[in-house]
Symmetry: C2
Subunit: 319 residues, 2 copies
């Protein structure tokens, strides 16, 4: 039973648990009309929730959409928004089974709840990292942040992207229509090789911090090992390497995954990702922490930065 | 696994299905500070969702809360709101396992997603009514609507309810802290006697219409059989009997249930409700419809009104 009764009824599968999460996006807080079309808003609202399923190693299956729409929005805009929601849901095999649409005075607000399934006891938590593990990420970082920056620099409407190079359009797409790494999460669960996992919604530094705190450990990243940032520099000639690094560490919403694997089995896991055509970048290691958890980055010059959740503590600045 | 990872992990039970729904409340659309304290807002947001579980005959088990809060709200207010959410959840044995709190420019918005369990294949739908069934409701109607009316008439703050009679406080409580009929829904499922079911969030007429449309039938209500409206008239001496009837038919948010049972088993069901100390009011019957579905009300004077979803078609007015 889907939309049209008081609630949706879901058939579970024996041997599986349900995994559920919800996320809210509010206009002028989480997105701005200058950088996001209505279709992109819908797509991304669904994607950010599907990414939470990927971060647990779950298969996303169902979604509910709660939408508050300011009076005066055009019907075509809402249709475009729903099209975006359904486009992303369809891409990941997610059925939209319920929701609630209401009018509101001012703030367009979208809350998506996603339900997924994972083999009983196999959900990948943030707390599973152990000293000695290899830390990995599943793909390039900072693209979405660079896309956002690019559109804000241009000004104007998100609907007008004429004149952008192909490389720039790639960044804009990363910002507007990010693709959660569900398949990567599933490989980590079904292989039994994933130990801890998180999705990169708020930037690598912040997400690595969540792993470090939940697992009571230190995450030691290595600049040399991070996914290459060719795309960033090619699309945005004005970026310095330091800017690019900053986007990679603190630019959010790429929805790649960061996780850990037992060091001795890193090659095995890399092989599985390669066979699936997915990105896999060993990017550091997990170390025991005697006192407080933390995240560090070893730079190419050998210096080690202590990374704050939202900025380089080393420089004392807040990105 | 509850709050604190990317998603909550839920253990289902063999032989049960999950039932899930979500509802949104927006300030100045669904509630006004003049009639709702922060605690009441939280309580009612949870209650309205738990009521959707009751309407399916399900046991509510888990909830996720998405809250958008305008900058500048006092922390004490939010604490009170959360206390209300947890108070209602606790009362019904619901665990809050996740959610998302964000700031927003203007509109306080609360979306609650509730998950419940029901025996596989036993969820009570709106489409189960059959000609000849008895239509019943589970308790008095119009109390919440009268409480709202009372507070609006008084003006001032929802926090200042001094001077209200005990009977008036009952109406205010019905408006602010409605109690969903989960136990009634469970009796209807476990006895196997419930055929169609809906919760009365938008008024009896509107909810009976939903049953009539989903079941392709006519719902024939009888004024004489409706739950007594003593409380309404006692608390609000200014109400005419016609006003009271209007509140009973079109006043929403009492969160009683309206459902149907095979006529020959009505007594058996009434007995089960009586044993549980719950209200049970046979209020009419289901008739076949040759053409369009509809809802009628036989008045005490023998006249029959055709009820609109939102007003008496008979009078051509919109309540």
């Amino acid at each position: 039973v889907g939309i049209g009764d008081d609630a949706a009824v879901l058939n579970g599968r024996s041997g599986f648990q349900w995994v559920v999460s919800c996320d809210t996006m509010v206009r002028d807080v989480h997105f701005k009309p200058e950088t996001m079309t209505y279709g992109a808003i819908g797509f991304k609202a669904m994607a950010s929730n599907i990414s939470d399923m990927a971060a647990m190693g779950a298969v996303p299956r169902f979604a509910l959409i709660a939408l508050s729409v300011p009076r005066g929005e055009r019907e075509e805009s809402l249709q475009e928004l729903y099209d975006g929601l359904y486009e992303c849901a369809g891409r990941y095999g997610v059925s939209i089974v319920g929701g609630d649409t209401t009018s509101c005075p001012a703030d367009m607000t979208i809350t998506v709840t996603v339900l997924g399934e994972v083999e009983t006891g196999k959900a990948l938590l943030r707390s599973g990292a152990r000293p000695g593990d290899t830390v990995f990420v599943t793909g390039p970082l900072g693209l979405a942040g660079a896309g956002l920056r690019l559109l804000l620099q241009r000004g104007g409407s998100a609907y007008d992207t004429g004149g952008l190079t192909e490389q720039q359009q790639l960044l804009v797409k990363a910002h507007q229509r990010p693709l959660p790494q569900v398949e990567a999460g599933r490989i980590l669960v079904t292989s039994g090789l994933g130990r801890a996992l998180n999705d990169i919604s708020d930037g690598l530094a912040s997400e690595a911090w969540e792993l470090a705190e939940a697992s009571r450990c230190r995450i030691e990243l290595v600049e040399e090992l991070l996914p290459p940032c060719r795309e960033l520099l090619a699309a945005c000639p004005d970026l310095t390497p330091a800017d690019a690094l900053r986007l990679m560490l603190y630019g959010g919403e790429d929805y790649q995954l960061v996780g850990t694997v037992e060091a001795g089995r890193t090659g095995e896991l890399a092989q599985l990702f390669a066979e699936a055509g997915l990105g896999f970048y060993p990017a550091g290691q997990v170390a025991a922490c005697s006192g407080s958890p933390g995240v560090t980055l070893e730079l190419r010059d050998g210096n080690v930065l202590s990374l704050g959740k939202r900025g380089y503590n080393h420089f004392g600045e807040d990105y």
